[in-house]
Point group: D2
Chain length 146, copies 4
């Protein structure tokens, strides 16, 4: 990854704070994803997306809509971990590639800032299967700071 | 649009069938979007995304996650309207641009096949505000036929 | 397309001016594409990409790199046609889908503004085969106004 | 990066072979980029894009068209390094984010396979400034194996 992305220095405290923001900032429908902040660092956040039949299609496959939504949500928290809570922002673009199916298990969603400029923030999200750490979904995104 | 995209020749019957598929094929969480098939044609489908506080952030803005999810869902139905119900497929990529906020109102989500090849289908989705028909979100997507 | 995109009202004069900008603003390597401004309007420009062995791989297929480069170039001119010549801008993102091969013939590259905000401009590009008008390549893009 | 991406085990021999393919497979216009294979491994290739006024706009900024074209080219070689020379393929999609300007210096273009399935290959490209290794451009791409 980019030299601009420092290693995560997760603290329990800040992960707790991001978890609070999850329930304050996001739509009730997004909160139903049940995302759990696992760790965070400077410009980086990892969330667990717990498996649920509610998010699955026939065969237990986690729907792509849930993966995209988790990616977008994780990126907001990664940006907060760098810029703080009081910086309004909006998603400009989110590009998602679905590499392989994820069935019957949790996913880990890691979002990282690739570059934070004055008005635009670029990020990348890697979603891996919790069981083997293999990527199932990758996304790249651009946010505008307002 | 492409000369390969004929004008929609919506029939009540097929719209009803697509509405049934919505409740059979998609995850319960996606069904909570409350999408309603408005019209469909050969390789094209238009869905209404009703406004709901459940999908909204503070200020009544419809969350981007709902728009992306509606786009993906509409595209599946657009492909079904061309290729029929029995062709398994998977989303390879979905790229979404958020043009402007949508607050306190329904959206109309139109998905169209741009090109259907032997193994890949390319599509585009336009999401407009129901009140004025202005685009709030555009997406392009690739599906693999299995 | 969006109701924000008026129909092109091409004038010979402005097409001539855009052609001049092509030779002033762009890298010599990009100018080798030989792009010719065909028409332009408010927020829209159509360029011809003449077929050349210089741009082709074995079999006479126009290389994807030339199509992407033509798309980006056309979009700059479409933005100029709306905002004028003196607005500095930079490409933030360009997403290109290659729908089918283009071999041994010219392409027509039409770029349109989908939405122009205060700091960001969203656009879409359709590249069609000159012979039959069928899309061979689609791109969506975001530019930042500086 | 993904656990599916092994560390590069570059050999001079295979880098030489990829350099030969560069001059055989790509359009003359792409060859003018002057790309030099620096290293390669299993599913990975790093190319140098030498600075040239030919590729630059006013101010010595390397044009985005050259960066996108280098990304696409590097990915083809990364795929060859995994799958061999005799597997026909085509670019389905290339999504490029321009993080910051690159002026007056070489770029290093590293392409890596993220996942290679039966019919689709997903890859990511990181373009860094040769002077400080900072990312100036990121791309993600999908190729179809024919």
């Amino acid at each position: 990854m980019s030299p601009e992305t420092p290693a995560p220095s997760s603290s329990t405290e800040s992960a707790t704070r991001l978890q609070e923001l999850l329930s304050q900032w996001f739509a009730p429908w997004v909160q139903e994803l049940g995302l759990q902040v696992q760790s965070c660092g400077d410009g980086e956040a990892t969330l667990r997306l717990p498996f649920s039949e509610h998010l699955a299609r026939i065969g237990g496959m986690v729907c792509g809509q849930a993966l995209m939504s988790a990616a977008d949500t994780a990126m907001v928290l990664a940006i907060v971990s760098r810029l703080g809570e009081h910086r309004p922002m909006t998603t400009v673009q989110l590009n998602t590639s679905f590499l392989k199916p994820l069935a019957g298990q949790d996913a880990l969603v890691t979002a990282r800032i690739v570059r934070a400029g004055k008005s635009l923030v670029f990020g990348e999200i890697d979603i891996v299967a919790a069981s083997d750490g293999k990527s199932v979904c990758r996304a790249s995104t651009t946010y505008a700071l307002l």
